[in-house]
């Protein structure tokens, strides 16, 4: 296991408000990590700091052996950390195809290459195969602002994945998605990312999703990581149960377990 991302003593305060403190995380290659925590616990702040959107007050962020603290998002993206957004960030008035075409072009071109035509057949073919992988080919020519929420989420993540990042951070991939759709959506995403051997960190409120896709959990509470452990262990951690998951989930889980037990007995 090689560490790709090392975060040391990360702090962030907005005036008197401490949004993150003493954050220490090491992320290894090919890990799938779930970031959980109540609203305002500091999950998005963490993602924003690692991807350069927010400048940490102090601390250290090393990516692939290189200090990336203070770099703007564009440089961090080029180095290999990408992200998706809770509210999908797409080119709203353009078609799904054109969104991805632009994503590919920006990723692939530098310098004078930027003055080559945006469209070429080879790039279009890459876009189309990307559309297939993310199962949004049916929406190829639909304008992004008219897409259903789930498809827009997929487009957002597909755009973030264009650069084949080493690490992809997903900010609540299933928020706003119906319970019936969420596993289908996550299957598509995780399958596509597994092909590229991408290391994934995603923020998630839904513990069913966390249990199913994640091998390790970071639990945030009041700006701190209160638990960093394998999934099964983290979900029964008393601190996590009290401050993150709440009683609701446990009751249903225990009841479900009890029912299952009862059925077994019968």
């Amino acid at each position: 296991m090689t560490a790709v991302l090392e975060v040391r003593d990360l702090q962030k305060s907005f005036g008197a408000v401490v949004a993150a403190k003493d954050i220490n995380v090491t992320v290894n290659e090919h890990e799938i990590i779930g970031i959980i925590g109540a609203n305002g616990a500091g999950k998005t702040t963490f993602v924003n700091m690692v991807t350069g959107y927010l400048k940490p007050t102090s601390g250290q962020i090393e990516f692939a052996g290189r200090n990336i603290m203070g770099l703007p998002p564009r440089d961090i993206t080029v180095l290999g950390i990408s992200r998706s957004f809770q509210v999908p960030q797409v080119f709203a008035s353009e078609s799904v195809f054109d969104n991805l075409l632009m994503a590919y072009a920006i990723t692939e071109e530098t310098g004078m290459g930027l003055l080559a035509p945006l469209y070429n057949d080879e790039r279009a073919a890459r876009v189309d195969s990307h559309l297939e992988r993310y199962k949004i080919a049916d929406y190829r020519n639909a304008v992004s602002s008219t897409l259903p929420q789930g498809i827009r989420k997929l487009l957002d993540i597909a755009m973030a994945a264009v650069s084949k990042p080493t690490i992809l951070m997903l900010d609540e991939p299933t928020s706003g998605i119906s319970a019936e759709e969420k596993f289908g959506l996550m299957d598509i995403i995780m399958e596509a990312l597994a092909e590229d051997k991408t290391t994934v960190l995603f923020i998630e409120h839904d513990m069913e999703i966390v249990e199913r896709y994640v091998s390790r959990v970071l639990a945030f509470y009041q700006g701190q990581i209160i638990c960093d452990a394998p999934t099964a262990e983290a979900l029964v951690d008393p601190g996590v149960r009290e401050f993150v998951i709440g009683e609701e989930y446990h009751r249903t889980r225990t009841e479900a377990a009890a029912r299952q037990g009862g059925a077994d007995n019968a």
């Binding site: 564009r74 993206t77 960030q89 709203a92 632009m102 072009a105 920006i106 973030a160 650069s163």
Partner: protein, 314 residues
């Protein structure tokens, strides 16, 4: 062959037709044509900015710099049109490059007004500079062309050819540019800067490039205008309503196609000239009225008429 599309073919045909027409057209038509090309060039820069989601209410700054730079060089003995126009264009480009570092941080109405503030500083400087004729400006002698010194009507004829040639090159260039990755990034920046940053490119850099380009073509237009009317003065070169007229042309043309810009500029010139001639007391009313009518009834400019025509055919 991949660069030859309908617009390039259309522009090339228009170029050739105008090239020959130059020798036959009436003097006043040529004069209007020259002004349309000059203003159209500025509007071309505004089109590129507008596609990026930015509107400038101050491009008279670059128009004025281009015009005055060219005109001032004639005062110290330079008369070659190639040199004068090149110098005017370059002067504006350099200024746009420098101010771009500041302006690329602004969006929306702030971008528009900060541009206006800078243009009004130039206006104030010119008005207060007696050496440049203050509000009256000064006259510009007829230019020469690489040693050829035309006289009488030939001056305008040659200047028209000169302007037509460069405008054609620039316009085709812009059209092709809009299809490149950098050109297409106008859309990307307008629609979602956050996404552009997270795809690994700087939105501000994109804006800066477009801004410098808009400054260059505005300087070109200004230098041409100075030579075409043989005179520079602050009120028709650098005042805020001049900037307003450029935006007017952009609205009139729509931002759908580069060719529309020059049609729009010519229509603007027609409205202005005829309003001024036949209703000297009401020309602003006619100008304002047409602008309102376009905003209300033709929100995508005259190019939407072409689009509609195409749709009804297809």
């Amino acid at each position: 062959m991949r660069y030859l599309d309908k617009t390039v073919v259309g522009l090339s045909i228009a170029f050739l037709v105008l090239l020959f027409a130059d020798f036959f057209m009436a003097e006043w038509v040529r004069f209007m044509g020259l002004q349309s090309l000059a203003r159209g060039a500025v509007a071309l820069g505004l089109l590129v900015l507008w596609r990026t989601g930015l509107v400038s209410f101050g491009h008279a700054l670059y128009f004025g710099i281009g015009a005055y730079a060219a005109a001032m060089l004639t005062l110290v003995g330079y008369h070659d049109a190639f040199f004068l126009v090149f110098a005017g264009t370059l002067a504006s480009g350099i200024l746009a490059y420098l101010l771009g570092f500041l302006l690329r941080r602004y969006r929306g109405i702030f971008f528009a007004l900060l541009n206006m503030a800078f243009s009004m500083i130039l206006y104030g400087v010119i008005v207060k500079t007696e050496e440049l004729g203050s509000t009256d400006g000064f006259s510009v002698l007829a230019p020469t062309f690489l040693g050829y010194a035309p006289e009488g009507e030939a001056v305008q004829t040659t200047l028209f050819l000169f302007t037509l040639f460069f405008t054609y090159i620039v316009t085709v260039g812009v059209h092709l540019y809009l299809k490149t990755t950098l050109g297409g990034m106008s859309m990307a920046v307008r629609e979602n800067e956050i996404r552009v940053e997270y795809l690994g490119y700087s939105a501000e850099k994109v804006i800066h490039v477009k801004y410098v380009f808009s400054g260059l073509v505005a300087g070109f237009g200004g230098a041409i205008m100075a030579l075409a009317i043989g005179q520079v003065d602050p009120d028709s070169m650098a005042n805020w309503n001049v900037s307003g007229e450029f935006v007017f042309i952009t609205i009139l043309s729509g931002i759908g196609n580069v060719a529309a810009t020059f049609i729009g500029a010519f229509v603007f010139e027609l409205i202005r000239t005829y309003a001024f001639e036949y209703a000297p007391l009401f020309w602003q009313l006619i100008l304002g009225g047409s602008l309102l009518a376009i905003i209300m009834f033709l929100p995508n400019g005259i190019w939407s008429l072409v689009d509609r025509l195409r749709k009804s055919e297809g």
